[in-house]
Amino acid sequence: MQRLLCGFAGSVLTLLLGTAAADAQDTVKIGVIMPYSGQFADTATQMDNGIKLYMKQNGDSAGKVKIELIRKDTGGIAPDVAKRLAQEVIVRDHADLLGGFVLTPNALAAADVSAEAKKFMVVMNAATSIITTKSPYIARTSVTTPQLNHTLGAWAAKNGIKKIYTMVSDYGPGIDAETWFQKGFKDGGGEIVGSVRFPVANPDFSAFVQRAKDSNPDAIYIWVPGGAQPAAIGKALAERGIDTSKTKILGQDALTAETALKSMGDASLGIITVAYYDYNLDTPMNKAFVKAYNDEFHRNPDFFAVGGYDGMHLIYATLQKTGGKTDGDTLIAAAKGMAWDSPRGPMSIDPQTRDVVQTVHIFKVEKVGGELRNVEIDKVPNVKDPGHMTQ
């Protein structure tokens, strides 16, 4: 029996023989690390679609070099797996760059690898400020949580809202959002009349909404992660009889994502959100982008998709600028200060922090042609990440 076992184990280990691919001099390999499976799979699907669309529209060559993607699945929040995949894709598959990264813990773990191996890393979604400080070779093309929420807080104070009740999910991103929103709001002269943090996996918001209603604010600020919760809280707001024309509802992009709007129905009318992208943005470039995206994937793009799309743009643009050189120092130097027009509007990479500088949009849910859509009502251009300024 043990002899068979030995043979079995031996053959399993032998199967692991990796074949070192002989890579052509002019192929640049990018390790794309995302949660393709598990509860965050949809975010990876959209981001991957954005990447695929960019490559379809611009070909698979960036100047002199050919681009090859190596996709790796982290399965969800798994920093040890993300770190291992980043290491493997560099060591085994000879990747020259890293890209993707939907979740903060995974991005932080991979940042260590980027710093040690000196590889250019493009973060296309994860939104915590400290990520770009973990490696000098990271550039981000998505957003930071403070960038959005501080802007919303300041905007709210400037636009006649004096008293606010805040409700956020009790974990990293939610607390981050709450801190920066309150800061922006209070700096603008507003007053926080109450706040609550609900548990991450919260099935029922009605009672919390009741508490908010009882403190009689001008507006309620909500932060919940995407998925099923935005629709649930939207419905709870309607059930408790919150009139959005009297008590404004403020939140971040995920609150009025497309599927959330469909679930909430008319209860969502009047909700104000801050976002760096929504498919309803009324610019010629975005309209073309949305059409191309729909033709290819039969659904509308969201901010995950545009993060991937712009991430690829940054990669292509830097490779073209360096003439195909792929070492970290050259690429990050090329990335610093790079500016371009994206479907979301003009954006650039801050040379000091390597983080994204972009226009932050304020949207309101209205009925357009019988359908519920996010309509832009205001915008703040050239917003840098305030989170960096305090470090």
Partner: protein
Amino acid sequence: MPPVFGVLFDGLAYGTLLFLLSVGLSVTLGMMNFVNLAHCSFAMLGGYVTVTLMNRLGWPFFATLPAAFVAAAAASVVLERAFFRRFYNASDLEQCLLTIGIVFVSIAAAAYIYGTDQQPVQLPAFLRGSIAFAGLNFAVYRLFLIGIALIITVVLVATLEMTRFGAQVRAAVNNQRMARGLGIDVDALFAITFALGSGLAGLGGALAIDLVGLDPSFAFTYLIYVLIVVSVGGLGSIGGSLAAAMLLGVSDIAGKYYVPALGSILIYLVMTVLIMLRPAGIFGRR
């Protein structure tokens, strides 16, 4: 009315959902000791059937509910005949592994066919909104859920207590060998009970969409809650499942409302303590 009643009401509604999802597993586990971890896959199937019929074929919401029940029941019959039959005498661990494999396959299949995003469902207008009563708001859909659960409980209890079939089920749950010895065809009984239980799970999955959403990871996420309800309530007991589901629904929602910093700790604490005090469950036998 003080807000505690609103919280209780919401907790009861959430509890009825847990009840619908769990009652089938409790009875089949109690009768045949077959560890079916794929139980929530049938719930997920029911949910996706509703979504497909409503969003792609335009069926009204109410018509999709029996369809969800039937689809889940039918799928369970197929799986039972083809597969599970052969493993009734296998060890618990093998049954675990087999049914976990089925859960994985179902999650991947759902992701492949429907994609990974949330499935929205548009309830008919009269089920939306809320009714104001004594200073509190009661959501119409939650009233509907509680109503359905009551009807189903009555039907189930009536079947168990007043029909021959029910008497046979009770006998088989109580003492399988004796029941066989008396000539009751326990295998056929089990097939029917399994189908009914899975059908109820499918119905629960369809009703859950508006409350907690639907995506491919549903089969895994709700498995924990279902296991908690089944073990706290006692295997093979409908009353136990109902009581446990209500208790857990209320303590989850009340706990998260009154002490949000504790998060889900309260529900797990309640569960652990209850099982330590009454290992066989609230209404369990062994």
